[in-house]
Amino acid sequence: MTAIIEVQDLVKSYGAVEAVRGLTFRVDEGEVFGLLGPNGAGKTSTVEILEGMRTADSGRVSVCGLNPQSAGNAFKKQIGAVLQSTALPEKIQVKEALDLFADFYSEHTDTTALLERFQLTEKKNAFYKELSGGQKQRLALAMALVNNPKVVFLDEPTAGLDPQVRREIYGIIEELRRDKKTVLLTTHYIEEAEKLCDRVAIVDHGKIIKMGTPRELKQASAGTTRLEVRLAKPVAEGVLKGLEGVSDVRVVGENYAIYASRAPQAIVALVKYLEAENNELQGMEMYSPSLEDVFIELTGRRLRE
């Protein structure tokens, strides 16, 4: 496979804050690659360096064989992007905005067809300020694709949107995959990364802490099932770890995350232990393994903490 995005030892600081601390990864042509991490992990800084919007302190980045900082318009013609924080003038109409950005490119897609594809035809004469959050995001996606780019950067494309709109956006990203576009997606939604990405890099405090396909990452997780339990009285992690069927235990806030290779045995052993200790099980939830487990296992925190 040909690498279309290459990042080597990328470093970016803002004053004393080290946002990106030596990131290295590559994205192959036609791949949907996800940067998954909590807010402040360094995802947006990384993407904006790749988009040519920010300069790196050190390291090397290349997109379509070009340096985003120095390649100028030749680079801009290759990429499309949905930024995390951006806007358009309040009183620009949907079709006007799309046509304006189409005019900037010598070759562009038919804007009427784009409106149709993103279900914005009915809103083509609406002002930007009149659009809902989902419609604004669909317009942002349409604008990102107006030049038929090779690489599409999507920085938190579904943040703050309701589940229905998120599902619509997932559908659009699936379409991009079918169109063989290379997509770099940042997200802090586990299900988004699991559902959409061919490969995922889990990022925390400016570093990649694990990278692979969602399946690989989940298989590498210590347990196969996660039991989140809330107890009346605290117990030592080591005690829970010693119970039958339990492979690992983490304290997550006020709860205990018990990773069980054999869940039924682990539950029985836990209940027996609590009875013997005069403790009480106040709540229990059971989860199939997910990227959230991988993140908790690696950092001891939830993604959205």
């Binding site: 988009e51 919007m53 100028g72 318009n73 801009k76 013609k77 990429i79 499309g80 992007a81 930024l83 924080s85 951006t86 806007a87 358009l88 003038p89 009183k91 620009i92 006007e96 304006l100 950005f101 005019d103 900037f104 490119y105 010598s106 002002f127 604008m143």
Partner: protein, 301 residues
């Protein structure tokens, strides 16, 4: 590359004109405000004297044309603070076309307003002649472009809307009251009159007043147009160089001397006029002529 820049400039100019026409504030400040001033000045000072109405119109056209200074600086800061510019940054479009389109759109929007003001002065206040229309149009173009470019510099050197408003207020006061556009320069002490020769607004106001009263001479026109044209080129290039796309990109305080750099051409012309005194003499001659016209019951009656 140059063809792309022109295409991009024209595409954005078209959109900017549409956006301005949808903006009630723009219409209020660009059309209604100067019109209120026109009515006010005519009532206070120009009643019964067509010559004075022509002179007042010169000042009103100056206000209308200078309005780009205020409007474009606020618009650019708004676009930067709202993250609109950063979306444009992703596209193959540079700072030059973004700035040029705002200047061009402002000029095209101002032209009809200028004609509306002239028509009101002619038909409502009985101004007896149209003035030198080609010179008026030339001054509208060069004046609106220069003041817009100065406004764009202010937008680029200020970090917040609050800072922009403070600088705009200070500079606007000078443009408004120390240019001859609203208060005749001859009412000020001579040292203030000489100081006003360093302001671009004085060149525009004297140029318009000469054009609307049909007194414009070639040397005066040459001085006014040269001063404003050099001011435009310097201001545009500075605003292009210090253009900032991102709200969090702060402009270092010491770099704010760029604003002063844009004033260098007017400083040079100011020194020349300070020594030569030709422009100030023309201002005095115009006022004398108006006073005589008033004494004799109006030149055109």
């Amino acid at each position: 590359m140059a063809a792309n820049a022109i295409t991009n400039t024209l595409s954005m100019t078209k959109i900017r004109i549409r956006l301005a026409m949808r903006n009630k504030m723009f219409l209020f400040f660009s059309l209604l405000m100067p019109m209120i001033f026109l009515f006010l000045f005519v009532m206070l000072w120009g009643k019964g004297s067509p010559e004075k109405i022509s002179y007042i119109l010169g000042g009103i056209l100056t206000l209308t044309v200078m309005g780009g200074f205020w409007g474009l600086s606020v618009q650019l800061v708004t676009f930067r603070e709202q993250g609109i510019l950063r979306r444009f940054r992703l596209a193959p479009v540079g700072a030059g076309p973004i700035l040029a389109s705002s200047i061009l759109a402002n000029f095209l929007l101002v032209v009809p307003f200028v004609f509306i003001e002239m028509a009101v002065a002619k038909y409502l206040f009985h101004m007896t002649q149209w003035g030198n229309i080609p010179v008026i149009l030339l001054l509208v173009f060069i004046g609106s472009s220069t003041f817009s470019a100065i406004g764009l510099i202010v937008a680029s050197v200020t970090n917040t809307m609050q800072e922009t408003q403070i600088i705009n207020q200070l500079v606007w006061m000078v443009f408004l009251f120390l240019s001859g556009a609203t208060i005749p320069l001859t009412v000020f002490p001579e040292w203030i009159q000489r100081l006003t020769m360093f302001s671009p607004a004085t060149y525009l106001a004297t140029g318009f007043q000469s054009a609307t009263t049909n007194r414009v001479t070639l040397p005066e026109l040459a001085t006014v147009v040269t001063a404003l044209a050099i001011g435009l080129i310097v201001s545009f290039e500075i605003s292009r160089r210090i253009f900032r796309w991102e709200p969090e990109e702060k402009f270092p305080p010491r770099a704010k001397v760029w604003v002063l750099a844009a004033m260098i051409p007017f400083f040079v012309f100011g020194v020349y006029e300070y020594k030569n005194g030709a422009m100030l003499q023309r201002v005095h001659d115009a006022m004398d002529s108006l006073d005589k016209a008033q004494d004799t019951g109006g030149m055109h009656r």
